[in-house]
């Protein structure tokens, strides 16, 4: 790991005005925002660890916390090797720097793709171990003893032979003068004190009393409040604005009209919103005025007639062969709708700019602001905040770009907050995707398998160097590596960028499409073969493999063979994605009118070595809920280029009274760690669709569930 040290100046540049507020009555870790190392640390052996002479320890978090529990997990990894008491450390958000804090998998500063534990499992431990080695060395030198004769315990170094002890703080200054060791010895897994044991979250003490500052909560001195309205059709422009009524409203201070955005600045958000509502804006819709949900589906299907790029070498299944089964599966356009609406606070100054925002991509956010203003990125101070829900939406910087363009015209700091309507209607979206599946069966088993994936190349847009040979690694993720023993599969990819919408990643990403289509198709093949879906999957997996194991565990827990009443059913999803194996079994009941009620979800997880088991359970529970909202309730539709949904009354989110029972089984494992943020969202969708298939005999091929297709015929 690159262990270069950020300069004090770099760190301070990221300091937030105001810092944090101490929670009253609740003990908890201090959460600081970007680069706030006000501990006056003297020992900074790498980009992640700061220890002051008083022993105060700050751990710099290279991955942003957005609910997934990564602050806790990364801190556990460092603390496991550094040997400090997590109850006393301060966690600070890393300032923007790809060089120092680039995600080991993406090389730039990104939190996403369920990569954190996969990428940081060793680097974080090495950082902790290196720092501990240096601290021990300093103490040993002070006592003139062999470092090997010293041990550590929660921030204290002990020399057993002499009974001497000294705190990390006392040797921090001396340790700072040492060179970091070239190689470090990591703990044997048997000696783990933290890794593998449930740990309370370190980010939540300030979340129970309202004191944690999300981006939307910042209040720089003199801040004004603004809200905005972008063209309702992608690519549209402002034709005319009549602001006569808006100007007369109390609290309205300024109206900013740009080529495709209108914003109103006011004394508070309500004044700004009233002002915006009172504007009569005429739009020139431009080229996308005729885009509709129908044109999106048509575009996808037209693209599917192309041959595409071969991802694997297998021969495509002949459509007209004997015992050939083919099917098409599609998933719809979706919004992320995180609970914290899009927002960004900006203070544009001569030749510089300060930003307050919660982003999954801090260096990208910094660069886009610099680009808008025509200043170098270093002139942009970014204060990154804990995020009120990302799900892929905050991997994008369109909101930063819009906010900076507005703020350019405003004196002093301005907080720009999206209304929920703006958040849902003028966003970047999960694209429509489709899979064209084919298989040839012999004795019921596939002897040929083809899967044509049609969808946008998000990686090509997001991280161009990773897009190689015309194949988008995300778009085909979950199609190429399946849990099954498939002979020579033919996987092809057709890149299709839908017209009239901007697309982006959405929790579960590429596997949402590929696991959905693969798992529904496997159920269809089982049906053709006259096999039980569980037995069929067992026959297609290595009996000694991890997939087989999670499948059996889930089936047993779910009572797979227990009888169910009419119009009730169980469905399986078996997946390998993000380095983790999941088997999810859904149990549903389908009402006569076609309403699907999900009653139980059982998921067995093998995600390799587990850092915080309770965090894994939470991510599966939450991922399932996120996927259930989509499979049962969600679709963004377009008419005349405009998004028709606007808020939670028409973009429905699963609520507590619709919750199924959720059982999560964790498989103990010593394998390399896998990702866990996305898999639960992916697996629940095919599991529910397959359960509906079992309950009704109707296989749904397009999400979300359309109850009309499932209504009992009168």
């Amino acid at each position: 790991m690159n262990a270069a040290t950020p300069t004090r100046r770099q760190l301070l540049r990221g300091m937030a005005a105001g810092g944090f507020i101490l929670a009253v009555g609740i003990a908890g870790n201090r959460i600081a925002v970007a680069g706030d190392t006000s501990t006056g640390a003297v020992f900074a052996p790498d980009a992640f660890i700061r220890i002051g002479t008083d022993g105060a320890t700050t751990l710099i978090m290279p991955q942003v916390e957005m609910g997934q529990g990564i602050y806790t997990t990364l801190a556990m990894l460092i603390a496991e090797e550094l040997d400090v008491d997590l109850a006393t450390v301060t966690l600070a958000e890393a300032p923007p720097s790809d060089a120092l804090y680039g995600n080991p998998i993406f090389k730039i500063q990104v939190t996403g793709g369920s990569t954190s534990v996969r990428g940081y499992f060793l680097p974080m431990r090495r950082a902790g171990a290196a720092a501990r080695t240096m601290l021990v060395q300093s103490a040993a030198a002070r006592w003139n003893v062999d470092p090997a004769s010293c041990s550590t315990e929660l921030g204290t170094i002990r020399h057993a032979a002499s009974g001497r002890t000294i705190g990390y703080g006392a040797v921090a200054g001396a340790a700072a003068r040492l060179k970091p060791p070239a190689e470090v010895q990591l703990k044997d897994t048997r000696h783990f004190r933290l890794i593998g044991k449930p740990h309370h979250r370190l980010d939540t003490a300030h979340k129970v009393d309202g004191s944690l500052q999300y981006g939307i909560d910042v209040m720089p001195e003199g801040v004004k409040f603004a809200t905005l309205c972008a063209s309702p059709v992608l690519g549209g422009k402002v034709a005319h604005v009549d602001d006569s009524q808006a100007r007369a409203l109390p609290g309205v201070r300024q109206i900013v009209v740009l080529d495709n955005i209108v914003a109103v600045v006011g004394d508070h958000m309500w004044a700004a919103k009233q002002g915006l509502d009172a504007l009569a804006i005429t739009w020139d819709d431009g080229a996308n005025a005729a885009v509709s949900t129908e044109t999106l589906w048509q575009g996808l299907q037209a693209a599917a007639t192309q041959q595409g790029v071969a991802v694997t070498k297998g021969a495509a299944v002949e459509a007209n062969g004997a015992d050939v089964v083919s099917a098409r599966y599609e998933i719809p356009m979706l919004a992320h709708a995180p609970m914290e609406p899009m927002n960004c606070t900006v203070h544009v100054k001569p030749g510089a700019c300060e930003l307050w925002v919660g982003t999954q991509v801090s260096t990208k956010a910094q660069r886009i602001a610099a680009q808008v203003l025509g200043i170098p990125p270093e002139a942009v101070t970014l204060n990154n905040h804990l995020i009120g829900g990302g799900f892929g939406r905050r991997l994008e910087v369109d909101m930063v770009e819009r906010a900076v363009r507005v703020a350019q015209h405003v004196d002093g700091p301005v907080k720009i907050v999206w209304t929920r309507e703006e958040d849902i209607q003028k966003a970047m979206y999960r694209s429509v995707y489709g899979s064209w599946m084919g298989a040839e069966l012999q004795d019921g088993k596939p002897v040929a398998w083809s899967h044509k994936v049609v969808g946008p190349a998000e990686v090509a847009r997001f991280l161009p160097p990773a897009f190689k040979n015309g194949i988008d690694s995300d778009a085909v993720d979950g199609a190429v590596e399946t849990p099954y023993l498939l002979p020579n599969p033919a996987i092809t990819y057709v890149r299709h960028e839908p017209v009239g919408i901007q697309t982006c990643f959405w929790r579960g990403v590429g596997p949402n499409n590929n696991v959905f289509s693969t798992e529904c198709f496997v159920d269809l093949l089982a049906k053709k073969a006259g096999k039980d879906p569980l037995d069929y999957r067992r026959s297609l997996t290595d009996p000694k493999g991890r997939a087989h194991h999670v499948l059996d565990l889930a089936a047993e827990k779910a009572g797979w063979s227990m009888p169910l009443p009419a119009r009730a059913g169980r469905g399986i999803c078996l997946q390998f994605a993000f380095g983790s194996y999941l088997a999810t079994i859904a149990e549903v009941a389908v009402d006569d009118d076609g309403t699907v009620r999900v009653q139980r979800l059982v998921t067995a997880v093998d995600c390799g070595i587990i850092v915080n088991p309770d965090g894994v359970v939470a991510q599966i529970q939450g991922g399932h809920v996120f996927g259930l909202s989509a499979v049962l309730h969600q679709q963004i539709t377009l008419e005349k280029g405009r998004v028709q949904q606007s808020n939670f009354h028409d973009y429905r989110v699963l609520r507590i009274d619709e919750m199924p029972q959720i059982d999560v089984i964790l498989v103990p494992s010593a394998e390399a760690p896998g990702g866990i943020g996305e898999p639960g969202t992916v697996s629940v969708q095919p599991a529910v669709a397959n359960a509906v298939y079992a309950a009704t005999g109707v296989q749904l091929t397009r999400m979300p569930i359309d109850p009309a297709l499932l209504a009992r015929k009168a």
Binding site: A278, T595, Q644, H649, D650, R652, D657
Partner: protein
Amino acid sequence: MAPRTRTVALLVRAAVALGGGAVASRMLFLPGPLDFAGGTKVALADYEGPSPVGVPAELANASLVEKGRYLTDAADCRACHTTKGGTPFAGGRPFKLPFGTLYTPNITPDKATGIGNWTDAQFLRAVHQGISADGTRLYPAFPYASYSLMPDADVLAIKAYLFSLQPVRQRNLPNSFTFPYNQRWLMGFWGYFFNKDKSFEPIAERSAAWNRGAYLVEGPAHCGECHTPRTLAQAMNTRAKFAGGVAEGWNAYNITGDRTTGIGAWSKPEIEAYLATGHANGRSVASGPMREAVDLSFSKLTKSDIAAIATYLQTIPPIHSARLGAPAAFAAASHAQGPTDNPIGKRVFEQACVSCHAWSGKGALVADAQLTAKKAVSDPTAANVALMVLQGTGPQTAGRPYMPGFAHSYSDTEIAAVANYVTARFGTMPSKIAPKEVGKLRAE
């Protein structure tokens, strides 16, 4: 056939003919709008006192166009002649009638697609007699049977206002009526019987305010077009004046003096508040077409005119609506008490409704959100409740709380269930609206 039998047959035929004639004449010859009030009708010119027609005193010195704008608002031309998201008065709004869909025409002064070439006489003939400039008969969805009470001066003031607007080029959409309803000439007979085409005549014994109210209610505001039930011939059945009708799937409730099912128990300030703002505390909130009438018409009238309308409405003879329950008391504050046989309805209510309306129905935040005592919740058809759930209600841009529509996110089954839950929990005549009926209302 034996002579005796023949006699009986003849007698039966005569009786049928006579009876039929009596029914027909009852159907064809209906009381005039003010007949209920008795007294002496006088010509406008002979009325002693301030004129009940034209604009209120506050606008006496306004320009013709200003006067026309006021009367255009009073006649609520804009509501029907504007399509959703369209330019005001450019037409195109669809009305789904039992025999097809009608699209309102463009009444901006565009010469090619609007009424820019119309003469005063043509405009008067259209508004008073339902005959277009080219001589075709208009369907009485255009309320000329009411507008014919407006004197020429008022109609021409409206024309002056319309002609002051920016012309909008927007072609009229063809109606989709089937035979025989597409035979417009038949409307001539309708007009002959049901449009008296006679200017408003005040009643000498009544106050100036009452007569002003009568003019507004019966003429430009055309309240009876929705609130009076229709006969088989689609005429306003003035024998059941204001006892309740329908409009675009909504029940337009009883506005007679009946104390439980009409507005007989409402105070005058309550009626005034309802008309001016769309909300009378604890009484009613205007929704659907009435919300439009409030937003685009009543809210723009002067206090004196609103007061006059209330004065007049308070004299309408009571008629009891048997299919409307009396207001209920507040429901229990706990979810645990109340209907238990409708889990789907309860679930939707707790998800989407309770935050604003509260389990008690008192309204959790603002008085507008009170459910208890509203006519809609004691309406066993639940049509209005279902439509409010589907479409939402309240002013979305006026900075006041409003209710969004849930058509996109809840199924017909769920909306039927929550409508039935609401009428059972908060009203006195529980509904049993079926998902299929919600499906039809969804198409409104």
